[in-house]
Symmetry: C2
Subunit: 319 residues, 2 copies
């Protein structure tokens, strides 16, 4: 969310010599994205976004992510498209850090999505799943359900500090999820972080998605489950079933769910809440007291876990 | 230098209802400016910059600053021009903080200006002085030479902590500057913070200036003196006389200095170094140890003071 790497005008000039884009007219650090440094760049050739990859993104995964963005761009999905240098390279480096230049994706993210946004977002997610179909890259979802137990074990004490008795509940959840996790759902490339801040709108219509740095091969319906948690809870912690149905209906406009996916969706959403609870708990623990960088509150996802534990019903019983 | 105020899409939508600019297409927090929050905004009407004024800028001064930007825009000086709302207001508020929308000024600032940049910057500063001529607003330079003694008194102990014996030297400097300060130099509106990060270039040519939040009524040559300190010192602390002469020559292309200004310039530069030494020393003291926000090093300006104390010669002796 902040500019970590500071790029000088001469470093930028040097970097741009590799490209056929002309000289920089505008270059500004932008507060956007996961934990990378992002810059808006304008040259006579157009507008671009320069990302310098800092922590958290494994450089070995970058060819998968950048290749995916290129693939999506070529398959009619609105996202930032990597720009190749004169020698055809899209993975570059700046200040000895991996970096990439992508096209500028216009649009606005919404802070508090309404039902209409949810419908648009669902449809956008299905468009993404269709567009990614056929992408030859593979990346295992290293934050998927197989990882949760080993992620939680070193954090159990932290969970009890947050809320006495919580560790026991989480262990029980993880065991239940492992037992019940469906194995035969349609798979493909998922975004895996399809949150409102990663989705752009123009005049209320879906305009694209950014931040593919958790993308991986997994069940497509799990991506929808991540989005249900991210888009369909009210600030008071209650689950907005109207928003959820709109999200699913938007998704099904482009990609109807099969019976197995529909019946798995509440469980997948329970699991998706676990994944974000675990990484937030980890970030929470890793952040020194009094730090200016405030991590997301893990309790937000602890409350979502509780909602899923109680059970949500997503479809009319007649369906 | 960072985004402090976080503006939601619905707050922005609300804000834009006052204007005739259409709806937001792009809105991004930008790492730029003094201690304000800055956002890049794009609507069908064009590109804009939204500034939310945080600390340090006195709201009572904003009509002077914004009026100056309007005046400069109407007098052919490239700067960000305030955009009036439907009722003609340019000083707005957002989240109960003062805010203003200005046009987007393209260009790049340079980190390490060369001699050619100095010449361009000098000419740009003279253009600014000409363009500001006639602006009816008045603001006293509250960081001018009359203020230095009272600024320094509470910081004397801090100066000695930085470098033993420094307080005594600074007191002597301030006394000398007070005695020798010229009183009859041509005055006008000065930028007062004409540093490389506040000056934009396009393809090496002066493209405008930003951050007028120290602008005030003072001796015009004092503005040039501030720029000499900011543009013409090497990273090793030495004064680059070639760069300085280029800056002055560029300035004089548009506004020749009179004899009194020329002979006062070294003293004005000594004073300008004092002004930035004092505010940096103050910021240094005010920043808690271990803070993530790193203030500018006051010793950079302590070294510039030493150079001026030894005496610099800016013009050929024949001049």
């Amino acid at each position: 969310m902040a500019v970590y790497t500071d790029i000088t005008d001469s470093e930028l000039e040097q970097f741009l010599l590799d490209f056929e884009l002309g000289r920089a007219l505008v270059f500004k650090g932008v507060a956007e994205g996961v934990e990378n440094s992002n810059f808006m760049l304008e040259t006579p050739a157009g507008r671009f976004f320069l990302t310098v990859y800092e922590r958290r993104v494994d450089p070995a995964d970058l060819p998968f992510f950048l290749g995916l963005l290129q693939w999506l761009g070529a398959h009619d999905f609105p996202s930032a498209i990597p720009v190749a240098d004169r020698e055809g390279r899209i993975l570059k480096s700046i200040r000895d850090k991996p970096a990439a230049l992508v096209t500028f994706l216009p649009g606005l993210s919404v802070r508090r999505p309404g039902v209409a946004h949810c419908r648009q977002a669902g449809e956008g997610l299905a468009r993404l799943h269709h567009a990614a179909n056929g992408y030859p890259g593979r990346r295992r979802n290293n934050l998927g359900h197989q990882a949760w137990l080993s992620l939680f074990e070193p954090l159990a004490h932290e969970a009890d500090t947050l809320k006495p008795g919580l560790a026991r509940t989480i262990f029980a959840d993880i065991a239940m999820l492992a037992r019940a996790w469906p194995v035969d759902l349609p798979e493909g490339v998922i975004h895996a972080d399809f949150f409102p801040d990663n989705v752009f709108f123009t005049d209320g219509a879906f305009a694209g998605a950014i931040d593919f740095y958790f993308a991986a091969w997994d069940a497509l319906a799990y991506d929808l489950a991540v989005a249900l948690n991210a888009w369909c809870f009210e600030p008071d912690g209650s689950f907005n079933i109207t928003a959820a149905r709109a999200l699913i209906a938007g998704y099904e406009r482009r990609r109807p769910l099969n019976v197995a996916e529909k019946s798995a969706l509440p469980l997948l959403a329970h699991g998706a809440a676990m994944r974000f609870f675990l990484t937030r708990l980890n970030d929470w623990r890793a952040t020194p007291a009094g730090s200016l960088v405030k991590p997301h509150d893990p309790l937000e996802y602890e409350r979502k876990l509780a909602v899923h534990r109680a059970g949500i019903s997503l479809f009319d019983t007649a369906a």
